[in-house]
């Protein structure tokens, strides 16, 4: 079946079985390999992308269910790694092997959109993506740092005290 998907602001025509998980449409059909496969059963979150701004585990999301919606992958989160979460991730030197980090970043970005100033308990509850390297300590630091960067960079904060 041929249909169109809106990925990172661009329309992509794909011709694939509609039940194909979004993950594999991204990786094998569209060629965006930043989104990773690790479990295939929505346990680990390595495949996390955003659909209409919500974090979604793309390994169990049929492509047909996201037709007409805005799909954002790690490649489209920013043009130049300037999203506050990406900047914070670099400042905190989070990644080790890096395989799960696209999913971690996409989950964190969606989470911070909903909850711009999370507590540690909020992070514990919402950041359920798995990392075998155990970068959790630095992910936590980076999420708090991203909050600061967002506040410092927002129009409301201009002229105010430098939070960073």
């Amino acid at each position: 079946m041929a249909f169109k998907l809106n990925i990172n602001g661009q329309s992509h025509s794909v011709d694939i079985e509609p039940e194909t998980p979004l993950l594999w449409v991204l990786r094998d059909t569209v060629g965006l390999t930043g989104t990773k496969y690790a479990c295939g059963i929505a346990e680990c979150g390595a495949c996390t992308v955003q659909v209409n701004g919500q974090a979604v585990r793309s390994c169990v999301t049929p492509a047909s269910s996201v037709i007409g919606k805005e799909i954002t992958t790690i490649e489209g989160l920013s043009e130049d790694s300037s999203h506050p979460v990406q900047v914070a991730w670099m400042e905190a030197d989070v990644p080790q092997c890096g395989y799960c980090q696209s999913g971690q970043i996409m989950a964190a970005a969606a989470f911070l959109d909903r909850n711009p100033n999370p507590s540690d308990a909020d992070i514990d509850r919402e950041m359920t993506n798995l990392c075998r390297c155990g970068t959790y300590v630095r992910i936590r630091q980076a999420i708090h740092r991203a909050t600061e960067i967002s506040v410092a960079g927002s129009p409301q904060a201009s002229g105010g005290e430098d939070v960073a």
Binding site: I16, E17, T20, W24, R27, D28, T29, V30, G31, L32, T33, G34, T35, K36, Y37, A38, C39, G40, I41, E43, C44, A46, T73, I74, E75, L77, S78, D80, S81, S82, Q86, W89, M90, D93, V94, P95, Q96, C97, G98, Y99, C100, Q101, S102, I105, I123, D124, R125, T128, N129, L130, C131, R132, C133, G134, T135, Y136, V137, R138, I139, R140
Partner: protein
């Protein structure tokens, strides 16, 4: 199905620079070949046959580094980047001596093929044993120093002055007397031809200006925007995808399968059967489906009717193995590993003997990226793309499987989505090459499902051990008896190394335990099952230190001694261990007042050349729910290349250890591995990750310890010892989840 790739190398590098605060990292993308033509033209992909640099590309001063006219230095990394930071730490070592501009350093993989053809020029290419810094630092320093002196000599020759009057710094050679300067890029070609009468000495730690600094990792920018290419991400023109299912039980074989049942499914190309062997190691009997996308291959494989002959191992169950282990420990005498004094006699006559039996189950590596390999077999030439801990082994395996000379194989190493000992020695290379052989020159990207990865792993061994300590005056041990039974990694890997019945890894941490006890005996009984065992982060010590350090607390507490004071008394001739112990005791404030149900636990180890002491602070609810609140880790690896990466590794070791200690077990039922995915082999999550504090207790000198695994062994026993002090319940097996830890 291959559409236009959007990431060209140029964009990729630019993005990396923009994101990286000026750090330039040339990790060469396999995808560049698809976009911009042959890799040979670009010289982009590590592992291609080495050719002299073309005009303008720069000059190799030696095999480790290429200097471009614009002063960019490309440093070849012979170790594999799986998260432990070698793409940063290895270049730091070379750059320290080269005295080049760090902001113009790029890293790329060294070529396994070149090392094969040039007499092992890259020396140690397997990444294991926490050995990257520990075992390659000296010759990497030498490579940098020798290149620096050649650059200086080249400048001196140009100016007709003595080299001793010239200095090198920031990629520039300066003749101070005349104020003349030349950049490394201008000097590299001449430097490459210079023969020194004597190679320079390498720097001592007190001379370092780059090593020892907590520099940001070079690969981070690539790992926050999706551009880091892992083995699974390799895309080549005309490439097919495959996934495989091997025998569900080691020793099972495919009897038949019905390709016609899936032949007409969309995108399906073919089925390849692996003849395999029955041994559990190497290529196992199985099938792979090849299709134009991975998902189509995977769904077709699920629908492929396969009949199995389940083979001779269907009677093997973990609970029976454990029952037999106990019987063996009680009835058999093992191969004697340590026999000092008269341990058995004293034990028989002792008035107080503490005794316990400990065990730990198999564990899976469970790297986030399942195993896979992309292979292309053309005429007499084989190329494989993968993230591997052992590029030389992968090269030989591909050559063997394809029937070509090793010189005709290129290994294009990629970023590894986790390693931990599990990536590079299993059957993914043989499978991918076997499939590629049937594809008439088309490349194929083989990627295992998570379920296949867990079913087809080589697991951490499954030991059981009996400990006895005879106590003398003051409650101190006067005799020690330890009998261990376990599978043997070397039985599978190098049978010649177990001829005397002893596997030195299986008794690691026990045979060399640091405590001074005058009479000691250690025996080992090898018991191998049908499933293969292999190196799993901190092999041997990952479970042996759990058993030893838990038991040490049992011995101390038998007479209500403080576990720290008890150990201090047994370590009086080990000042370096005492130094690390004392550091963590101070930093964690050992013995501080804590509320009921919360306690500290201690453990000590000396592995991979690094001494580690950890104190865990753990709370246990009255219902028995465990929260590991904090781990303080003191360590002495002697000197450091990058202390920030060391902190990363401590955190990583602790997370890895806790996954296993709290939840991890691979069990066998009727010969099959019962676990299949993260729902039944859970990993530690954010909410369970403790606060971690790393405390350096560096002794300096000539000590250079490893760090990728050294902080792992002490975590489980420190937590178990804390749980005992919180609840009065002693944990003697992994995983802890099986214990009822409720208290009142």
């Amino acid at each position: 199905m291959i559409l236009n790739r959007e990431i060209t190398r140029r964009k990729f590098i630019r993005t990396a620079v923009a994101g990286g605060g000026g750090m330039l990292l040339g990790f060469y993308l396999p995808v560049a070949q698809a976009v911009t033509g042959s890799a040979d033209q670009q010289g982009l992909i590590a592992g291609n046959p080495w050719t002299p640099p073309t005009d303008g590309a720069g000059a190799e001063v030696n095999a480790w580094l290429l200097i471009a006219p614009d002063d960019t230095v490309t440093i070849r990394v012979a170790q594999s980047e799986m998260g432990e930071g070698v793409f940063t730490s290895m270049p730091m070592i070379v750059a320290e001596e080269l005295q080049c501009d760090w902001s113009k350093v790029k890293a790329e993989y060294a070529s396994a093929n070149r090392s094969l053809q040039q007499d092992g020029v890259y020396k140690r290419m397997a990444t294991n044993g926490s050995g990257a810094v520990r075992l390659s630092r000296a010759y990497l320093q030498q490579a940098g120093a020798s290149a620096r002196e050649r650059l200086i000599q080249a400048a001196a020759n140009e100016w007709n002055v003595s080299a001793s009057t010239c200095t090198a710094k920031g990629s520039v050679v300066t003749h101070a007397a005349s104020g003349r300067t030349l950049g490394y890029g201008e000097l590299a070609t001449a430097a490459a031809d210079i023969q020194l009468t004597e190679e320079p000495a390498i720097k001592k730690p007190d001379q370092f200006t780059l090593m020892g600094k907590p520099l940001a990792r070079l690969d981070t920018p690539l790992k926050v925007n999706g551009s880091a290419i892992f083995g699974a991400d390799v895309r080549l023109p005309d490439m097919l995808f495959a996934t495989s299912r091997t025998s569900p039980i080691v020793g099972a074989r495919v009897k038949s399968y019905d390709f016609d049942a899936i032949r007409h499914r969309p995108g399906v190309h073919s089925v390849v059967e692996f003849q395999g062997n029955d041994s559990g190691i190497g290529l196992r009997s199985g099938v792979a489906v090849v299709a134009d996308t991975w998902w189509r291959a995977k769904t077709a494989l699920e629908l492929l009717p396969i009949e199995w002959d389940y083979g001779p191992n269907t009677h093997i169950n973990s609970k029976d193995v454990a029952a037999k282990d106990i019987e063996v420990l009680n009835q058999k005498t093992g191969a004697v590993v340590v026999d000092e004094g008269a341990a058995l006699d004293i034990m028989n006559d002792a008035t107080q003997v503490v005794e316990a039996v400990y065990t730990a189950p198999h564990q899976a590596h469970a790297t986030m990226e399942p195993l896979g390999c992309t292979a292309q077999v053309r005429d007499n030439q084989v190329d494989i793309w993968m993230g591997t801990q052992g590029p030389e082994g992968a090269l030989q395996e591909a050559a063997r499987q394809a029937g070509v000379a090793p010189e005709n194989v290129n290994v294009h190493n990629c970023f590894l989505g986790g390693g931990f000992g599990g990536r590079g020695a299993r059957s993914e290379v043989a499978q991918a090459v076997e499939i590629a052989k049937s594809l008439g020159g088309r490349p194929v990207n083989l990627l295992w499902t998570r379920e296949e990865d867990m079913n087809n792993d080589y697991y951490n061994p499954n030991p059981m051990a009996k400990f006895q300590a005879a106590l003398g005056p003051g409650g101190m041990p006067v005799a020690w008896f330890n009998r261990v039974t376990s599978d043997s990694i070397f039985y599978w890997l190098r049978p010649g190394m177990t001829g005397n019945g002893i596997d030195r890894i299986a008794v690691g941490g026990l045979a060399d335990m640091p405590y001074q006890i005058p009479n000691k005996r250690l025996e080992f009984i090898m018991r191998n099952k049908h499933v293969p065992v292999f190196f799993w982060r901190a092999p041997g010590v990952n479970h042996n230190i759990f058993m030893l350090e838990s038991f040490m607390d049992e011995v101390a507490l038998a007479n209500e001694a403080d576990p720290i004071e008890f150990r201090r008394a047994l370590l009086s001739d080990s000042p370096q261990l005492l130094n690390v112990l004392n550091k963590v005791v101070e930093k964690a404030d050992w013995g501080k007042s804590l509320q009921e149900g919360t306690a500290q636990g201690f453990a000590l180890s000396d592995s991979f050349g690094t001494i580690v002491a950890e104190i865990a602070q753990v709370s246990v609810s009255k219902r028995g729910e465990v929260t590991v609140e904090k781990i303080d880790c003191a360590l002495d690896c002697g000197n450091t290349v990058n202390p920030l990466i060391i902190e990363h590794q401590v955190e990583s070791n602790i997370a890895f250890a806790l996954s296993a200690a709290l939840y991890g077990e691979i069990t066998l039922k009727e010969g099959r591995v019962e676990q299949s995915n993260f729902d039944n082999y859970p990993l530690l999550g954010m909410a369970e990750m403790p606060e971690v504090k790393t405390h350096f207790a560096l002794s300096g000198g000539s000590k250079w310890g490893g760090i990728g695994e050294a902080a792992l062994p002490t975590c489980a026993p420190a937590v178990a010892n804390a749980i005992f002090r919180a609840t009065g319940k002693r944990i003697r097996s992994i995983p802890f989840k099986h214990y009822d830890l409720s208290w009142s």
